[in-house]
């Protein structure tokens, strides 16, 4: 009974968020969304999700807090080093032949992986002819991404990832550390365009040579995943690359035939 009511309340809450603020979480995987709602509920002093729905409608600040809860920003520099190694060894030689390169990093969160790609492109002498579009639905994280300031305590891990990913220089060349923080070199930001874009409600904005969207689709249900894969197909030029997270796939979707596996293990696809 309690669970049944909770599920109804969650549906109503998501509908309210959509109608009031235009953010659509109705096609997100339910179990994960529910955990995040209950987490916020337990810290809010509110008794039920219905009370939370009321608060969302009348208290924009509370809505902003919940939006932060909904947006998964767990990321790191050179996350999954073997993926970046494959990009360096297999994809870069193809990109080198192009006169200019457009990369879309969809769901970039706080930007660590965007700067990782920028470093890689710099080391391969491709940075100056590349534009990276780094987007997220969450305005707050876009701002953080733009700032490029990260806790120094993670530098050791990032350095290790950088080396495993085949880094050609010293990772310390790319940031300056001060107090407890590391500031990413501003020269890496020059060709990055940070912008808000919502994969649920927005559509194509350019023709890309490569799209990175890793560990975002796992939070969507099949209907929404299908929409986003369509969006990616339509946003890629012929022979463009699509990079997903290691446990994500396009093989369930009707767009499957439009792509070939390029590096199967790393979920790097290439559009036909």
């Amino acid at each position: 009974m309690k669970i049944e009511n909770e599920n109804i309340e969650i549906k109503l809450l998501l509908e309210a968020m959509y109608l009031k603020y235009g953010y659509d979480f109705k096609n997100y995987s339910k179990a994960s969304i529910k955990r995040r709602i209950l987490y916020r509920l337990s810290r809010s002093g509110l008794k039920t999700i219905s009370e939370m729905q009321h608060k969302i409608l009348y208290d924009k600040q509370f809505f902003e807090i919940l939006i932060q809860d909904f947006s998964i920003n767990v990321t790191e520099m050179f996350r999954d080093p073997s993926f970046y190694k494959s990009i360096r060894e297999k994809v870069i030689p193809v990109l080198k032949k192009l006169p200019f390169i457009k990369i879309w990093h969809a769901g970039c969160a706080t930007g660590e992986e965007v700067y990782s790609m920028a470093i890689l492109l710099k080391e391969e002498s491709l940075y100056d002819k590349t534009t990276i579009y780094a987007t997220d639905f969450n305005e707050g994280v876009i701002k953080k991404a733009k700032d490029g300031i990260y806790p120094a305590e993670r530098l050791k891990e990032y350095t290790c990832n950088y080396q495993k990913a085949g880094g050609k220089s010293s990772f310390a060349d790319y940031y300056s550390a001060k107090y407890d923080y590391a500031l990413i070199n501003k020269s890496l930001e020059k060709n990055i365009v940070f912008a808000e874009h919502n994969l649920v409600t927005d559509w194509v904005f350019g023709e890309m040579n490569m799209i990175m969207c890793r560990n975002v689709l796992i939070y969507f249900n099949r209907d929404l995943q299908t929409r986003v894969i369509h969006l990616f197909r339509n946003s890629l030029c012929k022979d463009g690359f699509l990079c997903l997270g290691s446990k994500e796939s396009i093989r369930f979707s009707e767009c499957s035939d439009d792509f070939v596996d390029f590096v199967k293990k790393e979920k790097i696809y290439r559009k036909k």
Binding site: I3, N7, S29, K30, A31, S32, K34, R35, I72, V74, N215, I218, Y219, R222, G245, K247, E248, S249, F252
Partner: protein
């Protein structure tokens, strides 16, 4: 009671322990089994392959959106949380660690309890932290059956002890009895 699924949480000492339990299960076993074993984040699917080779049921690493089938054994991929969805599919998340763990046993157990309710069996085995205690409690509160490995028979007793301390569990069983016990649940299932 017709149980539908079994969730198992295990940490250090898990590989051998799981092998000793799962090898008892017959090939016509019809409950679904979903396992969180804490692993190094860079592990591959070795554990699933190891168990698959030694057990008469199919053991595989869980894929996202995979439909939970009877008689199949799913293992959470390293570095992802594994969740059960309302429509009895599995989903993954890279959200923050819970109890210093990803995958976290609590995350699996709590979401499974929501979906399977009283048709769920939760089992906590050997391990060196307290992950799973909250989840097992939720399974109990949702009417499911709770089992903990007797800490004296566990390679590391911390996790079973923590589970026993936080929930009035239904059974505390020595390792060698857990496999046969699961089989007896299935025998009852067949009779009903």
């Amino acid at each position: 009671m017709k149980y539908e699924a079994i969730v198992i949480g295990v940490s250090s000492g898990g590989m051998i322990t799981l092998d000793k339990i799962l090898r008892h299960l017959p090939s016509d076993f019809a409950l679904s089994i979903i396992i969180v074993q804490h692993q190094h984040p860079e592990s591959d699917d070795f554990l699933a392959r190891f168990l698959d080779a030694r057990c008469s049921l199919t053991v595989k690493q869980a894929d996202e959106k995979e439909i939970i089938m009877p008689g199949k054994i799913y293992i959470a991929p390293p570095n992802y949380h594994l969740l059960v969805e309302e429509d009895k599919t599995l989903s993954l998340s890279t959200n923050k660690h819970v109890n210093f763990a990803r995958p976290s046993i609590d995350v699996l157990f709590e979401t499974a309890a929501d979906v399977f309710g009283e048709k769920l069996v939760g089992i906590i085995l050997t391990g060196a932290n307290e992950d799973g205690s909250r989840g097992l409690k939720k399974i109990k509160e949702s009417g499911g059956l709770t089992i903990v490995q007797d800490p004296d028979t566990a390679e590391v007793a911390t996790m079973p002890k923590a589970a026993i301390a936080s929930t009035k569990v239904d059974y505390i069983l020595p390792l060698e009895n857990i496999g046969p016990f699961i089989c007896s649940l299935y025998a009852l299932w067949l009779k009903e």
